[in-house]
Symmetry: C2
Subunit: 336 residues, 2 copies
DNA sequence: ATGTACTTTGACACCGGTGTCATAATGTCG
DNA sequence: CGACATTATGACACCGGTGTCAAAGTACAT
């Protein structure tokens, strides 16, 4: 079984390889008869153009890179799934690049990635989508990129995010409506812009409902389960103990739930617990966690789709979108 | 900033591009002086060979594909992480390809993937690593591949797995040593060979400790949390209720724990629960799950490393390895 | 000094596509 | 029907590397 290349197709069809190329790329100036003839040969020989050769000629790789550093496995797989959907739609492929670096090392590492892989573009997920440094670097290198879930203001680059502030506001309001006044809050990782957004949603809700903000009820986490466990200890040791805890993501909320249960506290009777993200764990534990669902796949899908559009036509208008977050109530929150 | 190619390097160094190519690939027959000179120019011009051009010339893509269909996000990310480690070591990249298909459609889909991406090899994870059909297809297509966590007997293809049977045996023995005799079992997905291995480990442990196997204590799951919830209902409704439940993975075990807790059963006092895999959820819930830890990253790392070795030298001996699984005891199991 | 074997080097074709441009074929109009 | 514009097609260079092979250079034995 010999390899089927553009040359064999051209020979078999009795035309030049350039004409075959024209048909392949739907270029104009091919007579209907010729086009028909070539297409028939495609079928007959089961011709598949070689993306590598095409990549060399066009200086493109048809590969999008996905940069991430997130402790949440479910978040990552959701991101990948959305990105893949968009990639496959346009015959691109996805290359994943987890990366724990920051600052200079990060830039260097990304530079390395770009030169060794010839990526056509990059999707940035938190916390990289919030790194001004990285964004500046990509701009100087002229690498197309799209930001996912970044609150960073930059209307010159593609951005799709969900409304973290609104989500946190709604969740806090939900707790308040249940009669809670002492609502502890566990913050996320400082490098993520979502951290501040969620925090201010929480603060604004308190403010608008006449509840005084109490710094003492705030713990600093970093989105990891482990940090949630530390914060949980800090919060459950408070006297008086708050009647509700709002953790900036579900893993940290799960850690609070675990410690509370270990301490024989009943959830939600003794204390209400809420998270953020609607990660699988939120419904895998008992009681299920009240949380905020974000359309992670959809965000990433849109971001990558726009990225690819921009790659194929750099004059495309820069896409920026904010999607809604949605409150999901489960058993972990109840009236005080 | 002009592009630095092999031509500019050659010109700048005053040698032919072929000589540059020799230095690049560490080929023999380059005088030390010339080699030195060229290497210096590499540094000076910050030359990075274009992998696409190289790929075209060598008919290689330096990309490994990873095929998976697994409900466990943590398993997937662990697989990816091990695969990436091996890939980066050899300057390969990883392309991920989740795929829900079976049978003919699967074959067709993989065929599509191969022709559109020119992958150099494939890593198969369960359940694909157990698909004789797919393996036969890849062999006819002459695509190098490696199997991860597959119990399928085939000494002509690379395979790295952990000892599922031994793990299940140890875990069951652990429950028996705690005095349990009515140990329910939740099976995994039928397409995964691990399912049968774990089941026979359980059965053998019972047998060797003089406990009669009871078909009525076995529920059919499929590794998903949801199937675990269904099986949990079935098992907890039994009269008399078993004193321990061994689920074939942690998600299903978590589902049993959730239902048990909902029903006000105390774990482990009223019923012991154990899982398999040591997924993050096993330590994120209370009580933490007794389980079996498998070296997923290490399995995949070795599999991909061997795959790449085989790609660069097809005469490499076929690597087959069984790694040990390890019992992790937590709070979810206790004496009867 | 000369022959022989081995090392070093470069010219050139090639991988499988795309871009440029000249030329051939066809269409339009006075 | 001839002049001209437009469409269709192919020859050829090129993308940035690698493989082949011949030629030049070097080492050593005679």
């Amino acid at each position: 079984m010999k390899k089927v290349t553009i040359n064999s197709v051209a020979e078999y069809a009795g035309v030049s390889k350039k004409t075959v190329s024209r048909v392949l790329n739907n270029e104009p100036n091919v007579s209907p008869a010729t086009r028909e003839k070539v297409l028939k040969v495609f079928k007959e020989l089961d011709y598949k153009p070689n993306p590598i050769a095409r990549g060399l000629a066009r200086n493109k790789s048809f590969i999008i890179g996905c940069l991430y550093d997130n402790p949440s496995k479910s978040y990552i797989t959701r991101v990948q799934s959305g990105a893949l959907e968009a990639c496959h739609k346009f015959n691109y492929n996805l290359l994943i690049h987890p990366c724990e670096l920051r600052g200079d090392e990060l830039i260097h590492n990304v530079d390395q990635l770009l030169t060794t892989s010839r990526l056509d573009g990059l999707v940035l997920t938190p916390p990289f989508s919030d790194s001004q440094e990285l964004i500046d670097f990509l701009k100087t290198q002229n690498i197309p990129f799209a930001r996912v879930a970044s609150a960073l203001e930059d209307d010159t680059s593609i951005s799709v995010r969900s409304n973290d502030e609104q989500g946190a506001y709604e969740l806090t309001e939900h707790l308040i409506s249940l009669g809670h006044k002492e609502i502890a809050f566990i913050k996320g990782h400082q490098d993520h812009s979502a951290t501040e957004k969620r925090f201010s949603g929480y603060q604004n809700a308190l403010l608008n409902h006449g509840i005084e903000f109490n710094e003492g009820l705030v713990a600093q986490g970093n989105f990891s389960y482990h940090s949630g466990a530390d914060s949980a200890k800090q919060i459950l040791d408070l006297e008086p103990m708050p009647t509700a805890v709002f953790a900036s993501n579900d893993y940290m909320a799960a850690a609070v739930l675990k410690l509370a249960t270990q301490r024989q506290l009943r959830v939600p009777e003794d204390i209400s617990i809420a998270g953020f993200d609607n990660a699988p764990i939120a419904r895998h534990i008992w009681p299920g966690l009240t949380t905020i669902a974000q359309p992670v796949e959809e965000m990433t899908r849109q971001a990558v789709e726009q990225l690819i559009l921009q790659i194929s036509d750099p004059s495309t208008e820069v896409y920026q979108k904010v999607l809604e977050a949605k409150l999901i109530t489960r058993e972990s929150t109840a009236a005080k």
